[in-house]
Symmetry: C2
Subunit: 375 residues, 2 copies
């Protein structure tokens, strides 16, 4: 599949890649020069497992207003991309056979990270506004053995692009507090909101330290830096994660943390996010409009308020089969099946709109529509 | 201890840090500018789990002459520092309770990585020339359950600075081949040879693909880049490690791989290694001479042919106790105890000579000698 995707005539809606033409390449070179000048050798030396103090303070400050409380820099840990955050949390929380709770469908990378620790999954039903609180309550009420944590993506979810409704956020936090179930709130797309109000994260509703928050620089600067962060209010959990990271890779890249911090402290950073949001919003519109124009009437699809993915369903069609037809038509996507832990829903597809130009999105959707009509 | 070490009047022989004043800071800034110009956005994008092709080819080429065979780039995997290599190998090979074989004493970071997977340890005796082949044979002959692999550092070992003798290398490979026991050859210090002949790695004696090799850029360029590599000849093992890394952090930093590769392709790189070797050799000499001049006659110490550590023993003294006296005298080291899995040898100490100036090394050894005399 990867080989097909790399052929230039194939239009890919399959990956989850940011638009590379927006990457701040010259600014990253400038930041590196400044860091080498200002910080010097310390930026190339071993550094502490928790992350450089500048990064931890930056994250704490940036998130404090959203969390509606003052986050201490000590609560923040820097990791090599969110994937490492998920892996470390899996290592700390999951013993073989342990149950964890996921949205249905849920992020494939998280499932893969937890699979490595031999987790088993309980799934909670969702609708256009995310996880259903009463379904969660039913799942927890019946759960035996009791799960280790709940994992979810509240904003512009991967794969569905859906956003968890404001009132459900507090409900879900209260339910989990009642059951003493930790929540892992994975929030990579929060800065990519195209319209509508920014919603308070689940972390802001937590009365005790029961919500662990994951954020990343991959979507707002560049994934190739591998700079992401965890906010873990509970000290005991935090110490376990630090120990796990120490064994896993000692620490995240020192220079990349300094460079990220330097760049994120310039006015160009906020301007850059506005540029990304502007570009992705247009691409979302182009994809949505093209689906309305070209897709058979039976195809259902949404119009996410942000992020990188649109979710479509082709009732009665197995999208894994459809992908074969699409490959002949030179367009690819990710079939929905792999996002369902039980692999029991086969008509979904995840369509990425961040990585292709508007023109290629239109052409790709035309090809996709043709393939659906054929299949 | 870390807090004590960070006080400027404390002389530390405790860490394993390269000399930061030698880091090529301006060259790294220049390489970054070149990479941003030449490679552009691809250097900031997600990249493949195995590592960028340029790095894999570079490692394959650099090691082929030492390995005495042509290494294929496909055998090479890029990781976030050797520590991640050890962690991934632990993840792939070790189930809770599994036995693995170590030199006695052995590298603490490896023990910590394997501890996370609940390994148990069989230890092989060593002398000034490294692991004793007949001791290894005895250990393997008696082993029940049979161990999963043998881990060792052949050159300028951490903590002892010892180098495994040439003739023992082939012996050990043959013994392990006979028992079908994989070897993990961790070789971070190979480029830091001050004198004597370069010895062929164990990998060069392997008839089948039974030796996994770890190398790193941390000692020859800078640890803060987190660029290291594995050579895994066996395809099945390699695929497992790739899967483990995919779940652990998707891939290593894209930009840092490109920057490392760019810098390592300039003539400045070889010159830089010569400079490091020159500086560390002098520091080794200063430490060795100062020990001869100031240490009580009972203290035994070696004169490693390379690397970053000298090993000393103070017969009859518990060096963990000695460290307390030393802290008052404003000098620190790592007590040997923690390098012995059974924690049954208490008179050793690891003395790092790469990170302090010649003057501070002399002063530090004087203080250490005073503390030994007191204790």
């Amino acid at each position: 599949m990867l080989k097909v995707t790399q052929q230039p005539d194939v239009i890919s809606f399959g990956g989850g890649l940011p638009a590379p033409e927006l990457f701040p390449t010259s600014e990253i070179a400038e930041s590196t020069a400044r860091v080498m000048e200002r910080v010097g050798p310390a930026a190339l030396q071993y550094s502490v497992t928790e992350g450089i103090p500048e990064m931890r303070s930056w994250v704490a400050q940036r998130l404090s207003s959203r969390f509606n409380r003052t986050i201490a820099p000590e609560e923040v840990l820097v990791v090599n991309g969110s994937q490492q955050g998920l892996d470390l949390l899996g290592k700390v929380f999951i013993d073989p056979g342990d149950h964890i709770v996921l949205e249905n469908p849920s992020y494939l990378g998280a499932i893969q990270a937890f699979d490595a620790y031999e987790a088993r999954y309980l799934t909670v039903d969702t609708d256009e506004h995310g996880m259903l609180a009463d379904s969660l309550e039913r799942v927890l009420d019946r759960a035996d053995p009791f799960p280790k944590f709940l994992y979810l993506i509240p904003n512009f979810q991967n794969p569905t692009g859906r956003t968890l409704a404001a009132q459900r956020r507090e409900q879900i936090v209260r339910i989990c507090e009642r059951y003493d179930l930790p929540i892992i709130e994975d929030d990579p797309y929060v800065e990519l909101r195209f319209e509508g109000d920014v919603l308070a994260p689940l972390s802001s509703y937590a009365k005790r330290g029961g919500v662990i928050y994951l954020g990343t620089g991959s979507k707002v600067v560049a994934p190739g830096l591998r700079v992401a962060w965890l906010v873990i209010p509970d000290e005991e959990t935090r110490e376990k994660v630090v120990l796990a990271k120490q064994g896993a890779d000692l620490h995240s890249g020192t220079i990349t943390q300094y460079v990220f911090h330097d760049y994120a402290s310039t006015p160009a950073f906020e301007e850059h996010i506005r540029q990304i949001v502007h570009t992705y919003r247009r691409r979302r519109d182009v994809m949505h409009d093209a689906l309305r124009e070209y897709a058979p009437a039976s195809v259902e699809f949404n119009r996410p308020q942000g992020g990188m993915f649109l979710w479509a369903r082709v009732p009665g069609l197995d999208t894994t089969q459809l992908l074969r037809v699409c490959t002949r038509e030179r367009v690819v996507f990710v079939p929905g099946e792999s996002f369902y832990p039980a692999r029991d829903v086969r008509d979904g597809m995840r369509l990425n709109f961040s990585n292709a130009s508007e023109e290629r999105i239109r052409t790709g959707i035309q090809r996709l529509a043709k393939a659906i009509a054929e299949a």
